[in-house]
Subunit: 339 residues, 2 copies
Amino acid sequence: MNSWHSSRADRGAHRLANCLQATVISIADVRRAADSLRSVAGATPVLTSRTLDRRTGAELFLKAELFQRSGSFKFRGAYSRISSLSARQRSRGVVAYSSGNHAQAVALAASLLGSKAVILMPRDAPAGKVAATRSYGAEVIEYDRYGEERETLASGLAEERELVLVPPYDDAHVMAGQGTVGLELVEHIGDLDDLVVPVGGGGLIAGCATAAKSLLPRIRVVGVEPASGDDTRRSLERGERAAIPVPRTIADGLQVATPGEMTFEVNRRLVDGIVTVTDEEIVGAMAFLFERMKIVVEPSGAVAVAALLAEKLDVSGRRVGAILSGGNVDLRRFQELLA
Amino acid sequence: MNSWHSSRADRGAHRLANCLQATVISIADVRRAADSLRSVAGATPVLTSRTLDRRTGAELFLKAELFQRSGSFKFRGAYSRISSLSARQRSRGVVAYSSGNHAQAVALAASLLGSKAVILMPRDAPAGKVAATRSYGAEVIEYDRYGEERETLASGLAEERELVLVPPYDDAHVMAGQGTVGLELVEHIGDLDDLVVPVGGGGLIAGCATAAKSLLPRIRVVGVEPASGDDTRRSLERGERAAIPVPRTIADGLQVATPGEMTFEVNRRLVDGIVTVTDEEIVGAMAFLFERMKIVVEPSGAVAVAALLAEKLDVSGRRVGAILSGGNVDLRRFQELLA
């Protein structure tokens, strides 16, 4: 694993060698992350639906990360990153910026690992998310979304207080941790023809593709982006990272303007394609998941099922894994979206 | 098992002996029902929540029948009843009356068992429920809720077409089938101090209490009724079946005016107490289950958690099983209730 965020000198040579390898992370990294997560994050269930199979003509297996601790897959990456720190680093603490799932994930992971988290959240973040983050024991520092650069603020804080930054996706430990979703799904279900994964910064699909393609070399890995936020689709087409304006979409976890450097390095090798879905298709999938499957999935978490229901990829007769990445949508927001 | 709905003469003597026994059904009946269900109804998951444990001071295990086929526990009873019929009876078909979960459950069970179902539904039943019932292949006959007696209509149909009536609760096979919920929960979780169960006609709690008390003689079995529909509470107090006006409550599956004869016979022996919840407490529980546990539970299905959150019974320091009996609430109704 490329661990350039780590400061332990004694592993330097090993790391340098890894940096030069073609892949940024390997199945071994994902397995290590799975080992460290085993005692804290129960394997989430894999759900099936006869109705969904009938509608798509496929055999679908939905990995339900909405039941993950902190309500999304983000916990896996945050925990993997923080558990890789030295005791001294952990005692000084970690810092992250997020208005969403990564905030709660880092706060919870830090508290479980005896560390302290400082989370930068925009002043206009939903009160519920701020409260949830604080309830895990994190210190929340608010900033002005329109006036201050969060990356600069975070680096400043990290330096000043000697905190380690926990990035939301562009980090080898984070990708490996997020990849345990795909590892578990393949280990649980066995042979799959396709794996369909939501794409924001690209950490989830990078980790999952690494695990899935190692175990099932012929699997097709397809990402799903919001139609207005197809930065990874464009980047894969061009063969280099493209930037778009911050997308307007209800899928707030996927509002990313450009792929991560490390995630793109993995994804340009392992991802077979990207399809996109509209906000309307996302809402339709959320309603289907509510009424037919009795589960609450947030907009970003529903894009894979949205793509399947809208027939954005041909899966007829295939065994398909799809990731429901999270369920953090409060009642009021849910009501507004599905009104 | 008391099988007075069956027509097979060769088991008559055996049955008569059973009728005279103190209990109407036994753990052996529940186990037989579990065997017949094994290939068609996957065991539903048992969910836990750290937040719920913190709020109640107990260790809670929620049996999630919202994930059951047809969306509620009713499938278990309907399937058990229909699978007990002779091939000839099955080929002639079954009849049931219901505007809710029992309709879909009987329709699905009949279709799986190669039988035909005729379902009497009130003319003003929600279009979605009528469509769901028809989608399982049932013939739906509408009647005027305010002008016609559904029991009389059903008996008339049963006689005229030689159909077997599948009652929603007051039947030994139905109770035994519904009791498999409790059997599975105890087999899955092991020792429990309490079992908290929604009470309508009393079939679910009768079957579950039979299974649970046989395996764990010291378990406390507590029923939950809507505050306005406490017919079983009153009946247990009096020691005989009491009747109340049809209750007005959002828990439409629990709008029962008097306990079943057979269910009450079981429940007066095995149920340790009844607590009641208001509609407001039910809505609060539905919101909690949505936001914290990411699951969709219908009003009737949420009463056990409502009672626990509202501290209607002291469970501090105890291991408590609770049944989430179903998830059939459509999006529009859900929005209205939680507005």
